[in-house]
Symmetry: C2
Subunit: 161 residues, 2 copies
């Protein structure tokens, strides 16, 4: 498919912010950030990126597609793990440089480490943080939904230092 058929041109700030034309902005790498939350719980599941093709595939198929920066390829989420994300609602922000996916997750997990959400640790903040010493994260998920070694056998971990 040709993504340019469903995306309009960005003409004015007013059109982009106050209008009804879908006119997404992709950055210098051709990407737009995508924020994915669980439709029922509201929990933030993951933060990824899409290129024009991935966004168009997400829109037309109703399932989340991202662009993997580590693999430099379109990534149909769940194609390997079975943990697909079905779009319940798709939203775009004021200047149309970010999209929000509200999804149902098949299998209940979205994180390659095996947790339900990628955001399974909290950072201390506010009163009580001195700012003078390294901070310690606290786990908020204590059990993995799946074992990555079983679900992704032989697949390289995408995390980069």
């Amino acid at each position: 498919m040709d993504p340019s058929k469903i995306f309009g041109p960005r003409k004015t700030v007013e059109q982009v912010e106050e209008g009804t034309d879908l006119a997404p902005k992709f950055d210098a790498q051709g990407l737009i950030p995508a924020v994915t939350t669980d439709f029922d719980s509201g929990e933030l599941l993951m933060h990824g990126y899409m290129n024009a093709e991935a966004l168009a595939l997400t829109i037309t198929t109703g399932e989340a597609h991202y662009f993997s920066r580590s693999r430099q390829a379109i990534w149909h989420k769940g194609a390997t793990s079975g943990l697909t994300q079905k779009i319940r609602e798709l939203k775009i922000d004021d200047d149309q440089d970010c999209v929000w996916l509200r999804v149902d997750v098949a299998g209940g997990a979205s994180c390659h480490v095996g947790y339900r959400s990628c955001f399974y640790r909290t950072v201390p903040s506010g009163a009580g943080v001195s700012g003078d010493s390294p901070l310690t994260l606290e786990f908020t998920e204590h059990e993995k939904v799946f074992d990555p070694e079983v679900v992704y056998p032989g697949v390289e971990n995408p995390t980069k230092l």
Copy 2:
């Protein structure tokens, strides 16, 4: 303050993903994306960026600070509008290249256009989208919380085409 005092080094993938050291990754521009949701409703309010100083200020003050890419400056959210964001919970993702802020918003709005959330329009998706013609957004917020002309008099609109 010196942000390096509260951030640890990134040593191994296991340390970053499975450990308790706060070791955030900043991109080539020195930035980390920040996803901000309303603590009570779970609604996605905005997507922004932080540099190391903005993240450290967010952690130590308990109020959201971002890095404005358009102004290339630290941005204490609400300093102009009064619509500050108080951190109720701060989380970081598996590879520590994204943070999630769960906040209470003073004044009830987070979008410079005047809406409660920056994500006030939906994109059609799934069955019924042909993929052959430009798509039309649908507004989900119909009334602005504030008038940007009143709250930001003489301030340039940050949206770029």
